[in-house]
């Protein structure tokens, strides 16, 4: 049975219309993976001597165990945003003589092979070997390493439970943040000292391997809960059930001010508001706006002026990046309609451009309070906003003409907790890193003012040549019209 499933997965990957693109992304992800593996390996090797040197009177093994709690929290957070349950199209399998449980077991089993579960081993194994070399009890060390692997797997399944519960809610990332902050807070304010309790527990288990049964039992329990959740989703009626949404209508009269692009703007606004996936890009606004608060209050960053441009681009451009990179895939479901209707491509693109520009302006206005941390920040944010409007909007629209992956707005398939994946952030990187590099270079060679001027001039150039650039982009879209129609009409 597993052989069949693997065969299907293989074909799905290599026969997909986006094969070239996803292969390139996979390679890029591969590089990231190697980078992380190397980092963890170095960490694992250097951990023992490093801790010994920093705290000569303490036992490194005990110190490390004290940190396991924070690792669990961080790991959960990262998993929530980057690790998704493997997707499998199950509908065609349901009427075939395949046990539902074997489908579920396959999906869950596949998730155990995730990179996230192996990554800790790169640090744990060298650290463990060092411990044995330093004549710790080998039995206890091996038990400890095994225990860490089990904890990683517990996180793996715990994450899917959190995801499946929170995917029902509107602010899907809120529950996990609340949960993790609560745990962290309980520990930090010494209400319950979870980290030391956990540390004691780990050491107890390491000294008595029989106690491993406790975490293994926990793991089995979590697996079983996941199994239950997924099995329930495996019945067609959960996807066929007509979950009728009440219509929230508004006439959006104000968009008429934008003239001939008004119908498209209305459509885009409804798209954003009435579909779960694009709606999450709206919620991300809040998170993006707060992003600066991670950096500016710390004195360390106050002196890193070159970094301001990066945060400025991020804060004012979060919607631009999140929404823009899926143009025109947002409309992929009805792309044929648009292409056979009496529309001008230019208006269609201009509506997206206007929407992104408005978002940048609004976000800049909302980010003005950052002036509290210094007027330079405000100036840098202003320059970044101009750059976003004059350069990044075009770049992302142009990138869209290479977009060949459709988005299914009517997400109802089982096993689909689609949200923000790692890929989404990778695409945004060049948009943020390039202006940061330009700004930083100008800042070091000349000064702050020149850096700001560089971004503003580039942005203004883009705004001045708006018509020309849009005409160029429109032509790119027209050139790839047939490929897009073809790709968008394919199923995943």
């Amino acid at each position: 049975m597993i052989k069949h499933f693997l065969n299907l997965e293989w074909k799905q990957f290599f026969r997909s219309a986006t094969m070239g693109k996803s292969l390139a992304l996979k390679i890029l992800m591969g590089f990231f993976a190697i980078y992380f593996m190397a980092s963890f390996l170095i960490l694992g090797v250097a951990l023992y001597p490093g801790l010994k040197k920093a705290f000569p009177e303490k036992d490194p093994f005990i110190i490390v165990n004290g940190f396991v709690f924070f690792w669990i929290l961080g790991d959960l957070m990262i998993r929530f945003f980057f690790q998704k349950l493997p997707v499998m199209s199950v509908k065609p399998l349901l009427t075939l003589p395949i046990k539902r449980s074997s489908v579920v077991n396959f999906v869950l089993g596949k998730s155990m092979l995730s990179f996230f579960n192996f990554l800790p081993l790169f640090a744990v194994i060298p650290f463990g070997v060092t411990l044995i070399y330093k004549s710790y009890d080998p039995m206890a060390v091996v038990t400890w390493m095994f225990l860490i692997l089990i904890i990683a797997l517990i996180n793996n399944f715990l994450n899917f439970i959190i995801e499946s519960l929170s995917s029902e809610t509107e602010l899907s990332f809120l529950p996990v943040i609340v949960l993790i902050s609560a745990l962290y807070g309980l520990n930090h304010f010494n209400i319950i000292n979870i980290s030391s309790l956990l540390s004691d527990g780990i050491i107890a288990i390491a000294n008595n391997p029989l106690l491993l049964l406790v975490p293994i039992g926990l793991l089995a329990g979590l697996y079983f809960i996941n199994f239950k959740i997924l099995r329930k989703k495996l019945f067609l009626d959960s996807s066929l059930k007509t979950k009728v949404q009440e219509v929230k209508a508004s006439n959006l009269e104000w968009t008429q001010k934008f003239g001939d692009i008004a119908p498209f703007m209305q459509l885009d606004l409804k798209l954003l508001w009435r579909n779960k996936r694009p709606k999450s890009t709206v919620w991300m606004l809040g998170l993006g706006l707060m992003y600066g608060l991670f950096f500016y209050p710390q004195p360390m960053y106050q002196n890193m002026v070159w970094f301001y441009a990066f945060i400025g681009i991020f804060v004012t451009g979060i919607f631009l990046i999140n929404f823009g990179q899926f143009i025109p895939a947002w409309d992929s479901g009805y792309y044929k309609l648009l292409m056979s209707q009496n529309i001008k491509y230019e208006q269609y693109l201009k509506s997206k451009y206007t929407l992104m520009t408005l978002s940048v302006i609004i976000l800049f206005v909302l980010s003005i309070p950052y002036v509290y941390f210094g007027w330079k920040i405000l100036v840098a944010h202003f320059a970044a906003a101009i750059y976003n409007i004059g350069v990044n909007t075009y770049v992302i629209l142009l990138g869209g003409s290479f977009n060949r992956k459709k988005i299914d707005l009517n997400q109802r398939a089982a096993f689909n907790f689609q949200g923000t994946g790692a890929v989404q952030w990778l695409i945004g990187l060049p948009l943020m890193l390039l202006p940061m590099a330009l700004f930083a270079a100008a800042y070091y060679i000349f000064n702050f003012e020149v850096g700001v001027a560089v971004l503003i001039v580039l942005g203004l150039l883009g705004i001045v040549f708006h018509q020309k650039i849009m005409a160029f982009i429109t032509k790119k879209y027209l050139d790839s019209k047939y490929q897009m129609i073809n790709a968008f009409s394919q199923d995943e």
Binding site: T242, A249, R274, S340, Q341, I343, N410, Y482
Partner: protein, 231 residues
């Protein structure tokens, strides 16, 4: 109105459509029949410039469809559900199409109100998004949307499929009315020989991408078609 010359479409050496010549005069109700893979949808997709011809061309009112977009204002179509925007209500969808075709809300309301019996009270004022409607009701909305803006050419792919019998009969009347009284060129494809002979004054049979029969509909047509498809 629609002139097809030397049109062919190939996918990796497999010819899926090859029509040397096919002229459809203005105001004709034109039916396309054929088994699966005969090339019906391919022909309509070429006519709407959704795919590129390998050779030859189609002219719609003397406009080359794959070179100019000027045919769009007077041509409308409903091919499949991917022509619907799932997160709009039926009314919003009609208004959106109306705006693209230069019709204000009053125009759209007036047109749509003529189809209240066709809708059977299940489309308008439902406070439901199109994605939540049944397949048949989605189809009704799509077909009526294709009538917005006084198009001169209407293309409907498999309009009778998924509809209930009552609606099929009503749809037949609508199509007949369009061609006979308003001079609209209507192109439909169907697997249902009975419906298509009822509605169309001309029927073309496609087989493996070729035109094998071109009939002016008469009383004998249905029998002739049945004999043809029986093999």
């Amino acid at each position: 109105m629609i002139v097809t010359s030397n049109l062919s479409k190939k996918y990796n050496d497999t010819t899926v459509l090859n029509i040397e010549k096919l002229d459809i005069p203005k105001g004709q109700s034109f039916g396309l029949v054929g088994n699966n893979g005969a090339g019906k949808t391919t022909f309509f997709s070429l006519l709407l410039d959704l795919i590129q011809p390998t050779s030859g061309h189609i002219k719609n009112n003397n406009i080359l469809v794959h070179e100019s977009e000027d045919w769009k204002p007077f041509t409308s179509s409903f091919i499949d559900e991917s022509f619907l925007i799932g997160y709009l209500t039926a009314e919003e969808y009609f208004y959106f199409i109306g705006e693209l075709r230069g019709q204000n809300r009053a125009d759209v309301d007036k047109l749509v109100s003529q189809f209240s019996d066709f809708f059977h009270g299940e489309i308008l004022n439902q406070k439901k998004y199109l994605r939540d409607l049944s397949k048949g009701n989605q189809k009704k909305a799509g077909i009526v949307a294709a009538l917005i803006g006084n198009p001169e050419v209407i293309i409907l792919d498999e309009p009778f499929a998924n509809l209930d019998p009552t609606t099929q009969i009503r749809l037949k009347n609508i199509i007949k009315d369009l061609a006979e009284k308003r001079g609209v060129t209507v192109l439909i494809s169907s697997h249902d020989l009975m419906h298509v002979t009822d509605v169309c004054e001309r029927i073309v049979v496609l087989e493996k991408g070729q035109v094998v029969k071109d009939l002016a509909t008469s009383e004998a047509t249905l029998r002739e078609l049945e004999a043809h498809f029986a093999g």
